[in-house]
Every structure is written in structure tokens, then in C-alpha cells.
């Protein structure tokens, strides 16, 4: 299938029970699709719901209405209603995510943090570590850091570990939440090249990039999320 990700009429609101049950609408009527080899960038001002859309697609946020259809090993899975183990299976094999911040696990080295998604798919440890080393080298992470847990790394170093972890698999869909936010110009260019390589492999990418230079370099299409904002509809 040429369109591995289709989002249809998705809506999301938060009910804050600790604040007298007020309801905050986030987005509604979100509909779009991402084709193979395409990089779609979510645009619009801060707070308009870009990250919320990515989090719904990855299963971290529940979906109030609509469908999120993912092409997973030859069949369609609706992530909006999938049971937890189906979501985990889609994450393991089909859907990758580079979050804004690295979730650090105590005592696990940077190299193993990066290699983990391959190990989870049954790749042998040597092979997974070799691939992880390759990516960390490409992202210019100093070699003396590889064996250390990333908890004490700088923001940019952690982000590069996170990017390597997200890019190590051959997932057909990749979600990117500001992967270049705390990188210097040289490493931003590396990430732009890595995204171009994923596109050439036919990966469908959906991302948030505040950096204009990066956005212009990678985006095939910009989707204005404010069109889905209920606040705009009310205005």
C-alpha cells in the first residue's frame, strides 16, 4: 500500500477533573494521510495541538473520535481503538517515534538505549550494537560517551541518542517531535540527511520542526494544524 498512514476525523479533548471538570478541546476533524517516501510537517503556532496529534498517533494519548489507520504487516490496524498489545506490536514493527526528550533508563548505556528497538525485534546483540555504533558515529556523539547511561548527557547529546534510537529500525512510518530542537548546525544537517535517506527508502514521515531551515529542507508538504483547532472555529 502506498499510503501507510491515514488519519480520519480524529478529535481530542482533555477533561481536567482536578479543575472542576473543565473540558479543554484540543483538535477536531483531523484528517490527512502520509504516503510512502513523503515527509509531512505539522505547522501552526505553539499550543495548537501538533504534539497532541503525534501522541495520539503513537498511542500515548487516547482518541475521542475518529480513526487512525496504520498499514501493519499487510493489514490495517485502527490505533484509535486497538488493544494495548496491538499498539505495542505496531510500535515494535511498523511505527517509530522520536520524542522531544529522551526517557532515561537508569544504568543502561547510550549504545544499548539505541540498540534496544532492534533487540526487541529479535536482532542479535552484536549486530544491533554495530548498527547503533554506526548511527552514533554518524551523529557525532563522542565515542567515550557510548558506554555511559545518558542521564548526565547534555540536551543535544541526549537528543542525538534519541534520534539514533528512532532511526535504527526500518519502520515504515516515523513520527518526529522536534528532533533538531537542541542540535547545532552541523548535527542538524546530519539529521536532514538521515531524513532524506528514510524518504528514499520509502518511509512515511510525519514531523514537527520549528527550525525553518530544517523544515524547508525536509518537508514535502506542510499541514496547518490550526485548521483543526476548535478555538479557531469558535472565533
Amino acid at each position: 500500500m502506498a499510503t501507510p498512514l491515514v488519519v480520519s476525523e480524529v478529535a481530542k479533548s482533555f477533561t481536567m477533573h482536578l479543575r472542576d471538570g473543565i473540558t479543554l478541546p484540543v483538535v477536531s476533524g483531523v484528517s490527512f494521510s502520509v504516503k510512502k517516501g513523503e515527509c509531512v510537517v505539522l505547522g501552526g503556532p505553539s499550543g495548537v495541538g501538533k504534539s497532541s496529534i503525534l501522541k495520539m498517533l503513537y498511542g500515548n494519548y487516547a482518541v475521542d473520535a475518529g480513526q487512525i489507520l496504520i498499514e501493519h504487516q499487510g493489514h490495517l490496524v485502527d490505533l484509535a481503538t486497538a488493544v494495548p498489545r496491538a499498539v505495542l506490536e505496531v510500535r515494535r514493527d511498523t511505527l517509530g517515534y522520536v520524542s522531544q526528550f529522551l526517557r532515561v533508563v537508569p544504568r543502561v548505556s547510550a549504545l544499548d538505549v539505541v540498540a534496544e528497538p532492534l533487540l526487541a525485534r529479535g536482532v542479535a546483540q552484536d549486530e544491533a550494537r554495530a548498527k547503533a555504533s554506526e548511527l552514533l558515529a554518524k551523529l557525532n556523539l563522542p565515542r567515550e560517551l557510548w558506554q555511559l547511561p545518558p542521564a548526565t548527557f547534555s540536551g543535544g547529546e541526549q537528543q542525538r541518542v534519541n534520534i539514533a534510537r528512532g532511526f535504527i529500525t526500518d519502520h515504515v512510518i516515523l513520527l518526529l517531535d522536534e528532533p533538531t530542537a537542541s542540535l547545532d548546525a552541523k548535527n542538524r544537517r546530519v539529521v536532514v540527511e538521515m531524513i532524506a535517506a528514510k524518504k528514499a527508502e520509502g518511509v512515511a514521515l510525519l514531523g514537527i520542526f520549528h527550525d525553518e531551515e530544517v523544515r524547508d529542507a525536509v518537508a514535502d508538504r506542510i499541514l496547518d494544524v490550526s485548521a483543526f483547532s476548535p478555538r479557531k472555529a469558535a472565533a
Binding site: H17, A62, P84, A86
Partner: protein
Amino acid sequence: MSAVPLLKVNDVSKFYGSRIGCRNVSFELWPGEVLAIVGESGSGKTTLLSCLSTRLMPTSGVVEYHMRDGQYRDLARMGEAERRFLMRTDWGFVHQNPADGLRMTVSAGANVGERLMAVGDRHYGNIRATAADWLRRVEIEEDRIDDQPRAFSGGMRQRLQIARNLVTSPRLVFMDEPTGGLDVSVQARLLDLVRGLVHDLGLSAIIVTHDLAVARLLSHRMMVMKDGLVIEQGLTDRVLDDPREPYTQLLVSSILQV
């Protein structure tokens, strides 16, 4: 994805007289899945764990386990001998207090070896070698093999308890606050160890904890309990990032940030 669940829990309730332990709990646990049960003290999580692991008999409801022979068995209808065999071989139970799960006055090696003998191992050399291997896996120096757990620190005791439980390659492990009472650096080591072992051995586990960070690190799925009821459940990331129920929102918002 494996085709059938390992454990099927249907409408389990436990009453202590007129007091509610847990009420109308239903779920399925699949092979390789780690489920965290969270909630405050008195919410019924330990009662539920006890009902699932046959340490307590539920007042009503059915718990079925997928045996190695491929059949489901109703745990309440199982004979005492069979149930004990299951608990000693195919299951593990890690107590919050290691003294409840270990024999404190026999050596570390014998604590691990005892479970091997329960599955029919009789060769002393093999048992000792396997015990030594497991001590190494839980990061206990091999020269401590003849020491009694009384001489161990709290963190070492807990790691020994884990080795004792995992040596028979169980398919399902119950854990009741496995990191409770340990200081944080010891906790981190234990969490990392448990995480690695669960992954390497493809274990299913049910972990009772009141620590949401532990749940995030170890579990795939989470159930939140309050007043004996499961009030919210789902993917761990989802429950913690987008809690829906008032009580879950309170729990999540009460986590201290460092």
C-alpha cells in the same frame, strides 16, 4: 502475537466479611506481557494479586491458567498438590519483604537450588552450577553462594529472591512491591535487572506497585485500582500521559518531579 492468553480472569471478587477486598475484576494476560496494578494502600491491589496467585480463594469469579499442556485450568478447582507444583515451577512470586520468599537460614545457593529440586533436578554439581550462574545473573558475587541471606543487604536479598523465582524458567511471575523499602540507587539496579530478565526470558508478569515510575519502566499495560475496583486500564504510556479518571489524574499529578 501469541494466539491465546496465559491467564484469563473473569469477574473476580473477594470480600472479607462485608468489607470489599476487590470487586468484579476481569482481564486477560498474554504471554510476554507485563501488567502493573497501581493504586494507593488499601485499594485492593494485593488482595487481587493474592486471588490471582491462589494465595487467597476469591469469593466469586474464575481465574483460568493456560497450562503447558495447552489446556486451561480453573485454579480454584485444582488439587492442592497440583497447585503447589505450579507455584514452585511454572510461577514465581516475589514478595516485598525478601524474608517472606527466602529461607533465611539456609545458604544462598540452597535457596536457588531448592526450586530446581522441586522440578526433579537431583545432581548436586548441576544444581550448584546453575545456582552459581543465577547468582551471577542477579549480580551477587559467586563467593557468597554459601552465605545465608541473613548476611545479605536488603537489595541483595531481593535479587536473591528473584534468582530463586526465575531459576525454574517460570512463565508467569507475580511481584508485590518488588522495589518497596529499597533505597533509590538499589531500586534502579533492581529495576534494570528485572527489566532485562523479563525481556530475555519472555516472561509474563503482574506487578503490584504504588510507584508509577516503576510501572512506567517495567510494564506494558496498567490497571488503576481504587476501593477494590479497577477504575482505569490501558497501555501504560496512555494511562500515565493521558489519565481519564479523576483518581488517576490525581495520582499522576501527585508524582514529584526531580
